[in-house]
């Protein structure tokens, strides 16, 4: 049962990784707008195709 002395800190470490991921997400502004990405999801296929076209345009010009 002494293994628990290893497991608890380890689990807290792993949990902290997720906490830092959350902090990073908030800092990079992903939580500013939680509404529009849900709408964009429904049209995503076109945008991926269009992004390529956009970068192609950029390359050509």
């Amino acid at each position: 049962m002494t293994v628990i002395l290893l497991l608890i800190p380890l689990s807290i470490l792993i949990a902290s990784i997720f906490l830092f991921a959350f902090i990073w997400a908030v800092r990079s502004g992903q939580y500013e707008d939680t509404c529009t990405p849900s709408m964009r999801l429904l049209t995503d296929e076109d945008r991926r195709a269009s992004k390529i076209k956009n970068s192609e345009n950029k390359q050509q010009s």
Binding site: I8, T36, R47
Partner: protein
């Protein structure tokens, strides 16, 4: 834009006659408004106007027809005549609009009220396909904003704006945008919430073992280990997540007030202190789980409030009344100049429907100025050259040339705004339900805590301190702090879905105690432009009706337009020698018949005896003989009579109008004998009336629509601004009400009363939880388990009750309103309600 060879085919298109039967109105394929005169057709699709057709062609040519697959009739009707944006390229203007520019690439953020659905988002994010040089564009739907990145060298800012306008998504460029900076968004709340939630979850996991008594395992002192880990996790919560409460509590106690943050701060300190003592002395596990849970729920409540505020907040500055630019005449040519660039002596051209931006002198052109928004006078007044024109008036009719006399910032209007009476901000009231309750709550809890400590110090001294702290810990102000935000926030959102937008949740509390209502007349109770027209005299023959219809169609005067709508047949004979004399009437020759339509005074001056009439009327003479008159009454909004009757039973009513006395009889009938009616009221009169009406015991609600009531709206306890178009200007008020909802004002008041009752009930429920908790605590038997269970249970149940009850009440009280909202309005085709977000700019009438 790539021009395909098929483009030439699009040019000559047959005009589509509107469907003859009233039920079979064809809807425009692009924007959904009914097709009337001027409709176009292409490929079996009908369009209401050339603008919509052009957008359709543009999208088809660039392979963007998916736009129509994403939403029904998703297009926005393009406003005609708005095509000059060169002024935005001027360095001073450009600087203010552009977010940043690093030489090659610039980024600009525009607010576009016309954004209303997913198709708009898609189209705006595919803007790069429509113009070379535009890079990425990102839409922020809740705020109706789009951020566009573009290449400076390839495309000008004005071209970007032109493109947006041509699609129907004209950016909202207002005078005030050039002056104020945008406020940054706070991410702190998310951080605090995330950390509190993280700590809450993990500490609870660790605490389960101690709840079940399993933390004494063999020779391992897990209790101590878990205790320290919990302490470590709770540290950032105590210092970072709770920081707002420390600040607020400190400010409150310095001011000797007891707002809700004070008992919360006391609770947090007690929790933390007791837990630290227990863990470091080895006496227990502490209450860290309850501490973090408390903060987590409180911050959830704050986030809910913040989100509601972000979605529904509006800040209507007087400055946004003015457009951004005006047409200036330089030498012989015209240019569009920003308002800030205009100087005294500049000559401006003001077209039909445009605002006069500054006090000016009329140089040329028939001027018919509509001051209804500024003075409340319903009839437009004719002006002659050399007359003084005030800023804020709207020109009706042809183009006029004016010369600016006073700088924009010094015009009569601005001086009115800057007057003390208009600009005084309403003081923040601290007498909200929550604060009043928390005041009593804190006192009672402290009394009980001291009393129990005192009691135990005689009976069993060991328990004294423990019970004192326990009472402070368990007396959960958590539910108190959550009841009002959730109930009133839910109510605020429910209001927003029914097109009544409240400035903040505390407006609801004030609405619930209103006992006196003051109405403005023009634009509030009466709908501008609509109304009944009736003819008095010998019935007109079919031929005569046709003549009058053709003649009045040529004029843009509101009366003419209403009269022409009365008759449908168009005379086939052309009109000769048509003449419109501003302020008097119009005359024309049709098939040899001389027709005069105008005011009584004008006809009399031509030798035609007219009938006497009360109210507004337009007289007709054919071939020099008096034929009859058209009586025009301003239409009351539908349901107003019922509304006033219901309200007069419970509220004290009054009417203030800038118009003259002509409608007194009619309104006395509507309001009842006990109401006070006042006419010819200037903005200052209205302000003074409301000021004098307000006294202890009387809560005054003012319902108005224009600048002429702005002072009164501010002075009243609750100011309601009635608007036809949500995104158009309206003065600073507590509530923005869509014109269609005016007849439902009674329901609005009832709903606010019910919401306040829900809050009070929630307080009651929370009190019961506290009684249970405090009795356990006072007996000195409080354990972390009890605390950890009681607190989340009470919080969650109260939040669920507050939200659920408010939503249910909203649906019950407003059920007939929501049915109307989704119907297609026959005049405007306004059915483009997006169900994805409720926001003040949702129902934009783009026409």
């Amino acid at each position: 834009m790539e021009i395909h060879s098929e483009q030439t085919v699009f040019r000559e298109l047959p005009r589509v006659k509107a469907a003859s039967t009233p039920n079979a109105l064809t809807l425009c394929f692009h924007c959904g408004t009914p097709c009337r005169d001027g409709a176009r057709a292409l490929q079996e699709k009908a369009f209401c106007c050339h603008g919509c057709l052009t957008v359709f062609e543009l999208l088809t040519a660039n392979g963007l027809t998916d736009f129509y697959n994403l939403a029904e009739n998703a297009g926005v009707r393009v406003k005609p005549g708005v095509d000059q944006f060169a002024f935005v390229d001027a360095p001073t203007v450009r600087e203010r609009l552009v977010n940043f520019s690093d030489g090659a690439v610039s980024k600009v953020t525009f607010r576009i009220p016309a954004i209303h659905c997913i198709a708009c988002v898609w189209l705006l994010e595919n803007l790069f396909r429509l113009k070379e040089g535009i890079g990425q564009s990102q839409v922020q739907f809740p705020r109706k904003e789009v951020a566009i990145t573009f290449d400076n060298s390839k495309v000008k800012l004005s071209e970007v704006v032109s493109l947006l306008a041509s699609l129907g998504y004209e950016p909202d460029l207002k005078f005030s945008d050039l002056e104020s900076a945008k406020t940054p968004i706070s991410r702190r709340l998310w951080m605090q919430l995330g950390i509190a939630g993280f700590a809450f979850g993990n500490i609870m996991l660790l605490s389960i073992s101690s709840y079940l008594g399993l933390d004494d395992w063999g020779n391992l002192n897990l209790k101590k280990l878990f205790g320290f880990i919990s302490f470590a996790l709770a540290l950032p919560v105590f210092f970072y997540s709770a920081s707002d409460y420390w600040k607020a509590a400190w400010i409150s106690t310095r001011r000797k007030l007891l707002t809700i943050e004070v008992p919360i701060a006391i609770g947090i300190v007690a929790l933390f202190g007791q837990s630290v003592y227990e863990v470091f002395s080895g006496r227990g596990e502490g209450y860290f789980d309850s501490l973090c849970g408390l903060l987590f729920f409180l911050l959830c409540g704050k986030l809910f409030q913040q989100k509601t505020f972000d979605r529904l907040a509006f800040d209507r500055d007087f400055k946004s009344f003015f457009p951004l630019s005006a047409t200036r005449k330089i030498g012989g040519s015209e240019e569009r100049a920003a308002l800030s660039q205009l100087a005294i002596g500049d000559r401006l051209l003001v077209r039909n429907g445009e605002l006069i931006p500054a006090d000016a002198r009329l140089i040329s052109g028939p001027a018919l100025i509509d001051y209804s928004f500024v003075t409340g006078e319903a009839e437009p007044s004719a002006r002659n050259p050399e007359n003084y024109l005030y800023a804020g008036g709207r020109q009706i009719g042809g183009v006029i040339e004016v010369e600016i006399v006073k700088a924009v910032s010094q015009s009569y209007l601005t001086s009115l705004w800057n007057q003390e009476v208009f600009s005084k901000e309403k003081p923040e009231t601290l007498h909200t339900l929550t604060n009043v309750f928390s005041y009593r709550f804190t006192k009672i809890v402290l009394t009980i805590a001291f009393a129990s400590a005192l009691f135990w110090s005689f009976v069993d001294p060991g328990r004294a301190v423990k019970s004192f702290v326990a009472v402070l810990i368990v007396a959960c102000p958590c539910a108190l702090a959550l009841a009002a935000p959730f109930a009133l926030g839910t109510a605020q959102r429910a209001f927003a879905r029914r097109n009544a937008f409240l400035k903040n949740a505390s407006v609801i509390e004030k609405l619930a105690v209103v006992n006196s209502i003051v109405f403005d007349k023009t634009g509030t109770l009466t709908a501008a432009g609509a109304g009944s027209v009736s003819f008095h005299g010998e019935p007109l023959t079919f031929l005569e009706q046709g003549w009058i219809h053709s003649l009045t169609r040529q004029s843009t005067h509101p009366y003419s337009m209403r009269i022409s709508e009365l008759f449908s047949g168009e005379s086939t004979d052309p009109i000769r020698s048509l003449r419109e004399i501003i302020g008097c009437g119009m005359e024309g020759l049709i098939s040899g018949n001389e027709i005069w339509i105008g005011s009584a005074a004008w006809l009399e001056s031509r030798g035609v005896a007219t009938e006497k009439s009360f109210g507004s009327s337009v007289h007709v003479a054919i071939n020099g003989k008096y034929r009859g008159r058209f009586d025009l009454t301003s239409a009351l909004r539908a349901g107003t009579d019922k509304l006033l009757r219901n309200l007069s039973a419970n509220y004290e009513l009054a009417l203030l109008s800038g118009d003259n006395e002509k409608e007194r009889v009619r309104f006395t009938e509507l309001f009842g004998e006990s109401a006070s009616l006042h006419f010819n009221q200037s903005p200052l009169h209205k302000f003074e009336f409301v000021e004098q009406l307000r006294c202890p015991g009387k809560t005054v609600m003012m319902v108005g629509d224009g600048l002429n009531d702005a002072g009164a709206l501010k002075k009243s306890d609750v100011g309601v601004a009635v608007v036809e178009n949500i995104s158009a200007f309206s003065p600073a008020s507590d509530i923005i009400l869509n014109a269609k909802m005016v007849s439902h004002l009674g329901e609005v008041l009832r709903f606010s009363k019910s919401s306040v009752r829900v809050v009070k009930l929630s307080f009651l429920v929370s009190t019961m939880y506290n009684i249970v908790g405090i009795s356990i605590a006072a007996s000195g038997n409080l354990s972390p388990v009890v605390c950890a269970i009681l607190m989340p249970v009470s919080s969650i149940s109260i939040v669920a009750f507050a939200c659920g009850a408010t939503t249910w009440l909203g649906n019950r009280i407003f059920h007939h309103c929501s049915a109307e909202k989704n119907d297609q309005h026959p005049e405007t085709g306004e059915n483009k309600v997006s169900l994805l977000a409720a926001s003040p700019t949702q129902l934009v009438e783009a026409a």
